[in-house]
């Protein structure tokens, strides 16, 4: 409890101090972004893809650098779920209407902070901790990402696994089980400095 209070206090102080040199990055919507989910069910494997990812990262400093806990950072990303394309329109509709219920829950969102940053040969490996919201349900997740510098911005490639059952997404089992409960999520997106002002 004391450790948590100390960490909270430290985080708040760091946050205040870091504001001066903070740099915000936005998802570059013009870049070749790609969000992919992969379902490997018993009799069918398929992917859903979209380029409709948006959001930002607020770094507590000008540029990303190796360090331990980056609690002064902040990020928010969202994926437009109605744009997911699985390659078959009927399956798209099932994903939209039956499973994700996008009319009510149009976005999958991830917000949180960067926990750790370490240098790699190509750039950085970060571990982000945040809340993933899908289908109106939030879960705390850890997201590992590989980040490379790209001019004044960055390219981030993240991967994580989600269980649809964790998000109250019901998969009917009375017919053909074509959607797996365990979904692999891959995010590949580009960040550019936020416009001034």
């Amino acid at each position: 409890m004391r450790l948590r209070a100390l960490a909270l206090l430290g985080g708040a102080l760091l946050s205040t101090v870091a504001q001066a040199g903070a740099q915000e990055y936005h998802v570059d919507r013009e870049a070749d972004n790609r969000v992919t989910f992969v379902s490997r069910a018993a009799i069918e494997e398929f992917e859903g893809v979209t380029d409709r990812i948006d959001g930002y990262v607020l770094l507590g400093q000008e540029r990303l650098s190796a360090g331990s806990v980056r609690s002064e950072t902040e990020f928010y990303f969202e994926v437009d779920l109605a744009s997911l394309d699985t390659g078959i329109s009927l399956r798209n509709r099932h994903m939209r209407d039956n499973y994700l219920e996008v009319a009510e829950f149009p976005y999958a969102a991830l917000d949180g902070s960067i926990a750790t940053v370490s240098e790699t040969a190509e750039g950085f490996r970060i571990e982000a901790i945040g809340r993933m919201a899908i289908h109106g349900v939030e879960q705390v997740v850890s997201v590992p990402c590989e980040v490379t510098e790209e001019g004044s911005g960055y390219r981030a490639r993240c991967a994580l696994q989600v269980l649809l059952s964790d998000y109250d997404i019901e998969i009917p089992r009375v017919m053909f089980l074509k959607l797996a409960n365990e979904i692999q999520l891959r995010l590949d997106f580009h960040l550019k400095p936020a416009p001034a002002g």
Binding site: L3, R4, A7, L8, G11, E24, H26, R29, E44, F46, R52, D54, G55, Y56, V57, L58, S68, V69, S71, E74, Y76, E78, D80, L81, A82, T86, G87, I88, S89, L90, R91, N92, R93, H94, R96, D97, N98, V102, A103, P106, Y107, D111, G112, S113, A115, T116, S118, E127, I129, G130, R131, V140, S142, P172, V174, M175, F176, K178, L179, A194
Partner: protein, 284 residues
């Protein structure tokens, strides 16, 4: 490594607490609204026989195999309630040239009817009072088995057009009105005539994958072989790429130019026949 684990542990402990009730500090704002969810009335591109205004997505291919068993269910166990056959078979292949237009080639072994059709989804809207969709179908068919003359002779050639109005007044219920006109309704009769028809169709979606459907096609009295309206009812199962329709009908006339004219059988239960439609959606 140890450093990273400790950092992760502290982060996992810390972050959810910090996020609770936290205002976002970034200047980012969503720049455009979420993708609009396409309007849906019927899920499938056809009911038992009548078309719906639904189309495929550009580039998709729909393969269909449909059967109507010729013996009636009332023939009982001796004919396995009709399943012993023979059957009227239809094979179909449709291709979506755009999200709103598809071209189909349908071949029935009844009179070797070969049908080339175009379907357009003209308009759709999701208003507060329900979802609406308008479409139209036009086609041309030949019947090589019926006449000694060329398949494209006036006695063999048929052409038709249908307008389609689909409405979903409440979620889970789809209704359709399909008025149509066909030229040479009774090919091979030696007297090519035009005829009108009006189709009604309805489908109730009971769950994510199961629905029940019914349809009725009012047709003119087009002669002794086409004296009755065609009706059908059944259940539809849908999966990620398939529709399976299990049907009971008083008609075995599968292709549009055949179905629009009527059926020789009344809708008396003694004349009911079993049938099915199976479609598979493909995308390359």
């Amino acid at each position: 490594m140890r450093h990273s684990v400790v950092g992760f542990a502290i982060g996992a402990l810390l972050i959810p607490s910090m996020l609770a009730g936290q205002e976002r500090r970034g200047s980012w704002q969503r720049s455009e609204p979420a993708t609009e969810v396409p309007v849906t009335v019927f899920h499938s591109t056809q009911s038992a026989n009548l078309p719906t205004a639904e189309t495929l997505a550009k580039g998709e291919i729909l393969f269909e195999i449909s059967h109507r068993f010729s013996p009636s269910i009332s023939e009982g166990a001796d004919a396995l309630w009709g399943l012993d056959g023979p059957v009227v078979n239809r094979l179909g292949l449709s291709y979506a040239v755009s999200d709103r237009a598809m071209v189909g080639l349908l071949r029935s072994n009844l009179a070797d009817n070969l049908d080339l059709q175009v379907k357009l989804r003209v308009w759709e809207a999701d208003a507060g009072s329900g979802a609406y969709m308008l479409g139209m179908v036009g086609g041309i068919a030949i019947n090589p088995e019926l006449t000694d003359v060329s398949a494209f002779d006036g006695e063999s050639l048929q052409y038709y057009a249908q307008a389609i109005l689909n409405v979903a007044p409440v979620p889970g219920l789809a209704l359709g009105l399909v008025p149509g006109v066909i030229h040479n309704v009774n090919p091979g009769s030696g007297d090519p005539e035009s005829a009108l028809s009006v189709g009604l169709t309805g489908q109730l979606y009971l769950s994510q994958h199961v629905s029940v459907l019914g349809e009725w096609n009012f047709s003119e009295d087009n002669g002794i072989d086409l004296a009755h309206d065609a009706g059908a009812f059944g259940v539809e199962l849908e999966t990620g790429g398939h529709f399976f329709k299990l049907l009971i009908s008083n008609s075995v006339r599968l292709n549009p130019a055949q179905h629009m004219g009527g059926t020789p059988f009344s809708f008396d239960p003694d004349e009911w026949r079993l049938g099915f439609n199976v479609t598979r959606l493909l995308s390359f």
